[in-house]
């Protein structure tokens, strides 16, 4: 029927047509979180997540196929089998573990606050003073992240603004709509390097994941619950990759520091 032909043509026209073959690992990633995960106008993914993904694929002798997806939609999409795994700087948390499985943690986030240099938070060096100082302030975070849950739990009096993308959050930070932004330091570095970042700085307090359970237990690869075989393979592969330093090297390249975390 003509309708079928038309819809087929439109589907093909609008979309990349890599078909799911055997020996292929499809990886869901955000594509809008530099330097972890960046997608260019053509849809090619680069960044630390892309490197980790590619390293895994080589180790597992499979072909990599990246699927770009909004961050808060990654877990539902994984459960719906849109892709096999999630590699997108996703922290392992109890809440998330109820929905999907995670590999062993392979990296550690350094969560920090970004504020204007003129802010009264700028000089704070200790976590308690920081939490007190954040009282009632307008804080920007990304929807569905551990950072969002941390602020909700630890600074309930704050005026929390959630953004779909890091970019939009940073645009609002630059224009003064939020007084502080909370996210992973490596992702926020990017902002400081840009011209609009020159009036901003980090608050010198690293909020480690062990400080509060909302911040999770390190970065892991998200895997669907029933995929136990794949999980075992990925766990072994990740441990090897951390041990032989490949993840550490990639981390140095993108973050200028080694955030890899050993398996045991």
């Amino acid at each position: 029927m003509n309708l079928k032909v038309l819809s087929l043509a439109l589907l093909l026209a609008g979309v990349s047509t890599a078909h799911a073959a055997e020996g292929e690992l499809s990886i869901g990633t955000e594509g809008a979180y530099p330097p972890w995960s960046m997608a260019d106008a053509a849809g090619n993914v680069t960044g630390f997540d892309a490197d980790v993904g590619n390293l895994l694929c080589t180790k597992l002798a499979m072909k990599c196929r990246f699927v770009v997806q909004a961050f808060d939609g990654l877990i539902p999409a994984l459960k719906a089998k849109r892709f096999d795994v999630i590699v997108s700087g996703m922290s392992i948390t109890q809440d998330r573990k109820k929905e999907i499985d995670f590999s062993v943690g392979y990296a550690e986030l350094a969560n920090m606050f970004l504020v204007p240099k003129t802010s009264d938070l700028a000089g704070i060096k200790d976590i308690d003073a920081l939490l007190k100082g954040l009282d009632g302030k307008t804080i920007g975070v990304q929807t569905g992240t551990t950072h969002a849950h941390f602020i909700e739990k630890r600074v309930p009096s704050a005026n929390l603004k959630t953004y779909d993308t890091l970019d939009n959050m940073q645009i609002d930070l630059a224009s003064g709509r939020v007084e502080a932004a909370f996210a992973d330091a490596s992702a926020l570095q990017d902002f400081l390097a840009k011209p609009e970042g020159k009036d901003f700085q980090f608050v010198d307090v690293k909020v480690q994941s062990k400080f509060d359970s909302t911040l999770g237990e390190g970065i892991g690869v998200g895997i669907a619950k029933e995929n136990t075989e794949l999980k075992a393979k990925i766990d072994t592969a990740l441990c090897e990759l951390v041990a032989d330093g490949s993840i550490g090297k990639s981390s140095q390249k993108w973050f200028k520091m080694d955030i890899s975390r050993s398996c045991n």
């Binding site: 609008g14 047509t17 939609g73 539902p76 089998k81 645009i171």
Partner: protein, 256 residues
Amino acid sequence: MLTTPVADKAWEFAAELRANLMDASLILVWQGGWIRAILQGAAITIAVGTVSMIAGALIGTLCGVIKWARIFPLTLVVDAYTSLVRGVPELLIIYLLFFSSVQFVTQVATAFGYAALADSGYAFIIAIVAIGTISGAYSTEVIRGALASIPPGHIEAARALGIPGRRIFRRIIIPQMLRIAIPGMNNVWQTTIKDTALVSVVGLQELMRTASVGAGSTRNPLIFYLIAAAVYFAITLISQAGFDRIERLVGLRSRK
């Protein structure tokens, strides 16, 4: 030069606006990649809009007939459908479909034989299902209204002449319905094409999302959203002109 303080401010504002846009345009020109991306996004927008509109028109015709002919209990189902779509924000419907009914989508795609494509065309399919569903509800009302405006005398006369029911439908009802429905369908199309912008939230690389990505990436939202608005406006104007033409061709302006 005007010298009142208000005019001064206005001048200052205009100058800054111009500086912003010129700066950004330079970036755009040098990195022509964005212009291409925007055009591709526009193509996807039109594709989603068109397919959804066609799907919606089919749904609308079916449901509109059901509602007009008052076929119980199907009428209740159709009523529930249109009330739901017209009463719940489109954004919610899109989020709902995107996050939950994936099995349904994969099944639909497989039924059409495109299982493999379903993986990569996922966002596109969700977009069409969502916008098509919404478009269908509005189309239903248009078709029902069109059917109701056919003078009942025509149908009575046809019956009196002994013309069989199906032929009445095909030769008398459908042609008139199609003609009367055109202005209404024009409105549905305009709404549909604008609703496609909402699909940007599920990540489909259509016009709005491309503009968003560009805005975030170059930190210049003003120029990107202005361009997006201009492209949508162009699509609207062109389709409006097209529909006007069709209306004239079909002789709607003339006395029936």
